[in-house]
Point group: C2
């Protein structure tokens, strides 16, 4: 039987004293793509249009990191430790090299995996995320705090505000996403509890804290990286995706109008071009050569009128 997002059984593997829950599906034989999930999300929270989209060309691995939902253990209070747990999980599967995708706080974890285990990671996809000390990340954005603090008729309607913009087109795409999101009915992950949210918030606070030369660490991430966002991300400001691209040695940036969730097929197509061999090889030979000239450095005071 060929498994999909909806049918792939939840499996378990032990590493670092943690029993990790995971699901695998898609075309085997190449470099698998490991997905790192957003704040309070489980394996069920990925968009099947994205996961099954990738699965037609490569093996997709979803998992819950330590302490999240069906995985045992405690959620660490740093992305660094979450990255180490994720790397232990990947190695416990017997894998020597993977591509890593991280969304939102999963993108912070993905960066930490690449830093801790550079040889384990071939390419990186950073989706709707930001760098350490990113713009508006400390304490969360006012918009994000309002959205996460509100109550919703159906709990999962929260994601219509988190993932999509208020435009008619974006909300229509959001309702289609929620339908796909609810399609898996058997073997769903248990929802996370408040303890998970608290630990993840503590990790965000550490990551977001102001520090000297906060973006220097990005120079150590040598992997070809694709940075993706929508134009109006109010949870982690879109500016942070531009900052990632400008400071990573070898990164491509794609920003979609509105929310990137509106374009699952287009995103999969762009990301597949990035991950696949032909054009991908160009990235490998690249160095982000010219240092940003201090003399000509523009001010960024007036991005908008």
């Amino acid at each position: 039987m060929i498994h999909t997002h909806q049918t792939a059984p939840t499996q378990f593997v032990e590493a670092n004293g943690i029993r990790f829950a995971y699901r695998c599906f898609g075309k085997t034989g190449g470099v698998p793509l490991v997905f790192n999930q957003h704040f309070t999300g489980t394996m069920d929270y990925w968009d099947p249009a994205v996961t099954d989209g990738f699965a037609s060309e490569r093996e997709v691995i979803l998992f819950n990191n330590a302490g999240v939902s069906s995985s045992s253990g405690e959620v660490p209070t740093s992305f660094e430790q979450m990255g180490r747990n994720a790397a232990a999980f990947i190695k416990a599967l017997g894998l020597q090299q993977v591509d890593v995708l991280g969304f939102s706080i999963g993108g912070c974890v993905a960066q930490e995996i690449a830093l801790a285990e550079p040889n384990l990671v071939r390419r990186l996809i950073l989706l709707g995320t930001g760098p350490r000390s990113g713009e508006g990340m400390a304490g969360g954005t006012p918009e994000g705090n309002q959205i996460f603090g509100a109550t919703y008729a159906e709990p999962d309607h929260l994601w219509l505000s988190v993932f999509f913009t208020p435009s008619q087109a974006s909300q229509a795409a959001g309702r289609a996403f929620l339908k796909r999101f609810r399609l898996r009915t058997k073997d769903r992950d248990p929802e996370v509890n408040e303890k998970v949210a608290l630990a993840q918030r503590a990790a965000i606070a550490k990551w977001a804290a102001p520090r000297e030369r906060p973006y220097d660490y990005l120079k150590a991430i040598q992997q070809p990286t694709l940075v993706v966002n929508g134009s109006n991300d109010v949870i982690i400001y879109t500016m942070n995706s531009f900052i990632l691209q400008q400071n990573l040695p070898n990164a491509q940036l794609i920003i979609y109008p509105g929310s990137h969730h509106q374009y699952p097929e287009l995103f999969v197509r762009h990301a597949s071009i990035f991950l696949s061999g032909a054009e991908g090889r160009e990235y490998l030979s690249f160095e982000n050569g010219r240092p940003f000239a201090t003399s000509g450095r523009p001010s960024y005071a007036k991005l908008r009128n």
Copy 2:
């Protein structure tokens, strides 16, 4: 005979009292793609890997705007007037709708075409360009002024510094570009004279001058737009591509590591996805819905350490 970048004959058409030189090649029957050239460039300055790349799927139209090289008339001292001349040229070909690509100052002209003749333009590709009053555009960047002011062993080596970064990979891509660039030996365009450069500089000065709420005019460009640049454009700072994307109502941004000229095949692939029907239709239904929240507006002071 099927024509290519190298073999397409230079043809002429009259409009606005100007005899426009142009070349057409590629697959006919769809919406043609009209190319608007950079500072002091002629039709010969396009990368054949790009023009022939597009030509496999669509009709490509190169032309010299008024007063440039083989076209008659005077170069106007505003992009607005260059845009009107370009629109007159397009209509003189009997075309009712085209896609418009503009590179560098050609991107300024492309914006003016869309503003002056919104019904003439289906989609827009803005390559290595910026908005009115863009960052570092007034008086040119220090790096750009140094590069354009220097002398070179071969005159066309200038473009190795303008189009490519100093990295080994980028310079190798630059040398390959120069080889392609020199391949057309018959029926080449005459080089432009100093008068052309002066008039184009005057147009840049008007465009770049500081003004109140400089980006408001972008709201009037409703066409689906693809904005593309390299990560370290020192002629028109890369930040300007991000500003375009953030202020255009319906724009996608792609930034490549280094210079976008390093990736002609990848650029053609991305731009073809954008121009072609399937995914393209998504853009048409989009509104850049959520206004940028003033409360959460980040400061852009620290893009780099």
